[in-house]
Amino acid sequence: MSTIEAVDLHKRFGSIPAVNGVSFKVKEGEIFGFLGPNGAGKTTTIRILTGILKPDSGEARIMGYDVHKDPVKARMLTGVVPEEANPYPDLSAWDNLMLVGYLYGLSKHAAGERAARLLKLLDLYEVRGRKARSLSKGMRQKLLVAMALIGEPKVLFLDEPTSGLDVLSARKIRSLILDLKNNGVTILLTTHNVEEAGELCDRISIINGGQIVETGSPDDLMIKSGLYTYISVKFDRPVDPEDAAQFFKDWEHRVQGSRILLICKESAEPVVRVVEYAKARSLSIIDIHTSPPNLEDVFVKIIGG
């Protein structure tokens, strides 16, 4: 059973097909990323998966519960950091957190204990008495994360959790996301930050125009994008250009004195060949490095193409 399951979701706003046939499954304990430009349909998908919006068609399930037929059961297992929702500006951080604790059915005692622990974990304990409106953006976002976690969810939705945050708050949230994963929480996060997606996600779906264009691990996506990896090798003495050209004919290459540059789609096989080449000719490798395409190149290529 998949922990999160989206089946052919469609949602239009007037003439805009905001989500246009999105399907995916997220396994237990996985961090799944939704990467896409603004307006791609990430938030709309999350709002459907958390039961806020009804899809025009399609199904959304959380641990087997249909989000729209069994909303309370599904949400009992779910924590959400919505992109467009706010804590009550005129309630204190503490009261906001307790309110959400009660909505999960916690007793005052249990909610209070969890609230204190979460606020300490997120460095908010000192400001717990302050109204949410007086908190900085970073503190407010961390409060929303605490509110998402107070029900001890099995599944966590994070819509642009670090966008627009200061470096420290963003880093705190990212490290918390990884800790949660290690505790078995399944996480779906959206971001338009390519680097963040690459750092956190086990798998990424690139979404554009309401449709998933590509899905895979960050490494898979690089290979699928068809972008090139550059391998640059330096030997201890100059190589014979014709011999080298013959040996590396499978790849596009340049030979220059004691250096060889290979341009290829993946790096493992050519690196092995470089080592063989060096051995056979008693060359020593002084330096070798590969520059894979970065995820941003991949993203631009996939979205652009």
């Binding site: 706003f13 709002r47 958390t50 039961g51 806020i52 919006l53 009804k54 909303p71 309370v72 059961k73 949400r75 009992m76 779910t78 959400v80 919505p82 467009e84 929702a85 706010n86 804590p87 009550y88 500006p89 005129d90 309630l91 009261d95 307790m98 309110l99 959400v100 009660y102 909505l103 999960y104 059915g105 916690l106 007793s107 509110m147 029900g151």
Partner: protein, 254 residues
């Protein structure tokens, strides 16, 4: 099927919403002042100077107070929280919109009861019998719930602009006052006006309370009771159902 755990979940959610409402919307100076002064002015405008005994106007004063306290704040909560994007924050949690609305009605009921209490005490000063006071409290409670629900009903309009709902609720509420037996006793109304008064939810609690305080009433008691119950249930069920209907339109706004 309702096990005790889900019952405690429902109760904790409802009570948490209710306390949130009281903190954010009711425990506020201007609201309190309006809640006290407005019905007093309205009642004073009609009763003072007519040489009526204070107890003659008691029933009307209570009904007006309930009407203007209980249905004054509930209409703005849903549009305001839609605008503020806190409603979506709430609904991302394991609560139904019904639970939230019942919490809203509960807060409004507490608020309405608190504001009616001084008048009930005043009735004791005027010599109302204890049994009558207890009966009055039951009538008042049912009425407060009904008018609180009426306020919630207005807010089912799927807007994120509180002024829209305030406009709608004033457009309905003021005529309801004027066509009821609150300002002019039913016995003094011309027949054509009576049939309109019969359609106002203010008429029946007023008639019931007038019977208690003056021994004088227009409709048979059973009619008053049945009509009061019908209005209260109709407003409550109507509010919950209508909100469920308009919720997705409301959440779709941006």
């Amino acid at each position: 099927m309702m096990n005790t755990e889900s019952f405690s979940h429902l109760w904790r959610s409802t009570w948490a919403i209710c306390r949130k409402d009281i903190k954010l919307y009711y425990a506020k100076g201007p609201i309190v002042v309006t809640g006290v002064l407005f019905p007093l002015f309205l009642w004073g405008a009609f009763y003072i100077g007519r040489g009526l005994e204070p107890r003659e106007g008691l029933a009307s004063l209570i009904t007006l107070t309930i009407f203007f306290t209980s249905s004054s704040v509930t209409p703005i909560i849903a549009p305001w929280e839609t605008r503020q994007r806190t409603l979506e924050m709430l609904l991302s949690r394991p609560v139904k919109v019904t639970t939230i609305l019942i919490g809203d009605i509960l807060a409004s009921t507490i608020f309405g009861l608190i504001f009616t209490l001084p008048i009930v005490l005043y009735s004791i000063v005027l010599g109302a019998a204890l049994s009558n006071v207890l009966t009055a409290i039951v009538i008042i409670t049912v009425t407060v719930i009904g008018f609180s629900a009426l306020g919630v009903l207005f807010s089912a309009l799927p807007t994120d602009t509180p002024a829209d709902v305030v406009l709608l609720s004033s457009a309905v509420k003021l005529p309801l006052v004027f066509v009821s037996g609150v300002l002019v006793p039913l016995t003094q109304l011309p027949t054509w006006a009576l049939s309109i008064a019969a359609a106002s939810p203010l008429t029946y609690p007023t008639d019931l309370l007038r019977r208690l305080y003056t021994g004088d009433a227009f409709f048979p008691e059973s009619v008053d009771i049945v009509m009061l119950m019908i209005f209260t249930i109709m407003f409550t069920v109507g509010a919950l159902k209508l909100h469920e209907k308009t919720l997705s339109a409301r959440l779709q706004r941006r």
